[in-house]
């Protein structure tokens, strides 16, 4: 369907009006540097508008359906602890922080790590309690000039999480961020804004997960900014098991200093429309980034992963493996960019994207983009998209394994490369369960 100007403008106008209304109600706050950034971001959002298919970065991901939804910008929720039981992951330990419609809910959350190990505070509290911290880092990493959704998130930045790990500290327990959309009563927009700062030689594991309660439409537009100082190590998981009425657009922006290590896994099991941007700037020597991804769109689901690794300094390493299983009319996009800057000699960069298409109506679009401006580098990339191997299926059947079972076994093996990267065992087991269920359907 060709979007009409109206479709594109209605939601935008609603957002602009809401921003101005909130601004009018502000007192001194409107004059802070923080709000100055938000205002600039809003202006940029206004200029950019929502992307159409003509936009190079949105060629295969159509946001028209999102723009046609009738959202209520009031994010209030009556959700209580009782409602969360259905979302619980068995045996999950650690710092479990709940955000409902983008707002931190201390009453539902549990912090177990000592403050000396990790500072966990809501973005809303951080604005008040630590304005210098926000001033130093907010919007320093995630550029919104060319990304309307990042601009929008920045303009509406209000709540989310701030995680700060002091130097030489290992956070023993994972930090599990659970973003819940409560769309039981209305269509919800939530725009969490997260900031994760890992000090020198510090280590932390963070998981972001996205779920929805209710049948209403939910639009999550999240931005997570991550800064890893020298020798820092981070495991970062983004897990989406959302509803058929959910829209998710998110950017995770990472900057890495010398010898820092970043391990990520982005797992999208369900969701109506998902766009994940994972952008990593390797801004130090001997920095290493590992990026794993899994997506399994079926029905009419659409999952788009855009990744960018920017090798800015010599001797850095990146390795990326994304895998997809596409069924029914599910569609997927993988766009993987690797930049190697002129100074970044001795870069090693590897990228691979493998897909299995199970139904004639399903499809996958892959686009590796390598831009290499240094000469002494090792880079490789490869994408494959195919059906399940018939010979393998027959081989398994000939040993007594029924075809459906053989198919499940092959597909399950296919996803294990990615799932096995998730070191929080209860989360991995939970995902394995959802995957099994999905493959068995």
């Amino acid at each position: 369907m060709t979007p009409t100007i109206n479709t594109y403008n209605h939601f935008k106008d609603q957002l602009l009006a809401s921003f101005r209304l909130a601004e009018d109600r502000m007192n001194g706050e409107a004059k802070t540097a923080f709000h100055g950034i938000r205002r600039a971001a809003l202006d940029q959002f206004d200029r950019l508008g929502f992307p159409t298919l003509r936009h190079e970065e949105w060629k295969y991901s159509n946001v028209t359906a999102l723009l046609k939804e009738d959202f209520d910008l009031d994010a209030s929720s009556s959700l209580t602890a009782n409602d969360l039981t259905q979302l619980e992951i068995p045996n999950l330990d650690g710092n479990i922080l709940y955000f409902v419609n983008g707002r931190y809910r201390a009453d539902l959350s549990r912090v177990v790590s000592p403050a000396s190990e990790v500072e966990l505070l809501s973005f809303a509290d951080a604005q008040k309690a630590e304005p210098e911290l926000i001033g130093d880092h907010f919007s320093r990493y995630a550029d919104y000039q060319d990304n309307a959704f990042t601009a929008l998130n920045t303009a509406f930045a209000q709540d989310g999480i701030v995680i700060r790990v002091p130097a030489n500290t290992t956070v023993a327990q994972p930090v599990i961020l659970r973003f819940v959309t409560d769309s039981r009563e209305k269509n919800i927009v939530s725009q969490p804004r997260n900031l994760i700062l890992v000090g020198r030689n510090a280590e932390v594991t963070v998981s972001e997960s996205y779920r929805t309660l209710g049948d209403g439409a939910g639009f999550t537009n999240v931005v997570t900014e991550i800064n890893l100082e020298r020798d820092a190590r981070m495991q970062y998981y983004k897990v989406q098991n959302d509803t058929e009425q959910s829209y998710h657009i998110g950017t995770t922006q990472v900057r890495q200093a010398d010898s820092s290590h970043f391990y990520s896994a982005t797992v999208t099991l369900n969701g109506n429309f998902v766009r994940n941007n994972l952008n990593i700037v390797l801004n130090g020597q001997h920095a290493e980034a590992f990026m794993y991804g899994l997506y399994m769109p079926n029905g009419k689901q659409h999952v788009d992963n855009h990744t960018l690794v920017d090798h800015a300094m010599p001797n850095s390493y990146s390795n990326e493996l994304y895998k997809g299983i596409l069924n029914d009319s599910g569609t997927g996009v993988f766009n993987g960019k690797i930049y190697v800057r002129p100074d970044a000699q001795k870069t090693n960069a590897y990228q691979s994207c493998k897909n299995v298409v199970l139904a004639p109506g399903a499809s996958m679009n892959t686009k590796p983009q390598l831009e290499i401006y240094a000469d002494d580098v090792k880079c490789s990339h490869g994408t494959t998209t195919g059906q399940l191997n018939d010979e393998a299926l027959f081989y398994m059947q000939s040993r007594g394994i029924p075809k459906d079972e053989a198919r499940t076994l092959l597909l399950y093996a296919f996803v294990q490369d990615v799932l096995s990267q998730i070191k929080i065992q209860p989360i991995r087991e939970y995902l394995e369960g959802v995957v099994r269920q999905k493959l068995g359907e």
Partner: protein, 250 residues
């Protein structure tokens, strides 16, 4: 045990089996020889239930049941085993996990309880010794990165584990050195019993020094054109196939 009657099979427009007859009784070992492209692997695939081949005429009776009517996994559960000429790589699935799944599916079909981990491991240990295969190979992805010999040995290992009634070996000997050949033969001979039968497809009579067949058949242009005692294999080795072709075309 197995009775193949006037079997015709084709792939696409190409007819490959053109009226093949063969009877195998339990306790027997039959060798099938023949030039490249004769249809030997096609016969093996049709018996195992590969769908790419369309059976256009004829019948196959296995222990009183219509074999052609069964799905491949049902045939396996009924006791058919094919050692592939080109074993397929199964990424991400170890031989151990694969075999455990296969065995328990077969047991389910037969109304038996699944083997528990201890029973399964004990059986594995026993059969590993038999085919001289290493544990490390069995924990790797099945056939992935295996050498030719390892793949063939793994086929025989699987056969030993599954203890089929009718084993079909499709050129399991090709590319094997003499030690590996002995191991393959050992695996087959271990299974030898009055209730079982084996169909050995081979190019060389070499293997038949170790697995002594009761009958040797020549498959040519989609049909069994000559059958005889084990000495026929020797004759084929010496004289090649041309004299048989001449006999037929004469």
């Amino acid at each position: 045990m197995l009775s193949i009657n006037n079997l015709h099979a084709r792939i696409g427009e190409k007819e490959i089996l053109k009226g093949l007859n063969l009877t195998v009784n339990s306790g027997e070992i039959h060798a099938i020889m023949g030039p490249n492209g004769a249809g030997k692997s096609t016969l093996a695939s049709v018996l195992a239930g590969r769908e790419d081949f369309e059976v256009t005429d004829g019948s196959v009776d296995f222990e009183g049941k219509d074999l052609l009517d069964m799905a491949p996994e049902v045939r396996a559960a009924e006791g058919i085993f094919l050692a592939f000429q080109y074993p397929v790589e199964i990424p991400g699935v170890s031989t151990t996990n694969f075999l455990k799944t296969a065995m328990n599916e077969i047991r389910k079909h037969r109304g038996q309880d699944p083997l528990d981990a201890v029973q399964f491991l004990r059986l594995m240990k026993e059969k590993m010794k038999l085919v001289n295969i290493d544990q490390s190979l069995l924990s790797r992805s099945l056939n992935e990165g295996f050498s030719g010999g390892e793949k063939k040995r793994n086929e025989i290992f699987q056969m030993a584990m599954l203890e089929p009634k009718l084993a079909i070996l499709d050129e399991t000997d090709s590319g094997l050195d003499i030690d590996a050949l002995r191991i393959v033969a050992e695996g087959v001979n271990q299974l030898r019993s009055p209730e079982r039968a084996t169909l050995v497809i081979t190019h060389y009579q070499r293997l038949l020094d170790y697995i002594v067949p009761d009958f040797v058949h020549v498959l040519y242009q989609g049909r069994i054109v000559k059958s005889g005692p084990k000495e026929l294999a020797m004759e084929l080795e010496e004289r090649g196939y041309d004299w048989i072709k001449d006999e037929i075309h004469a």
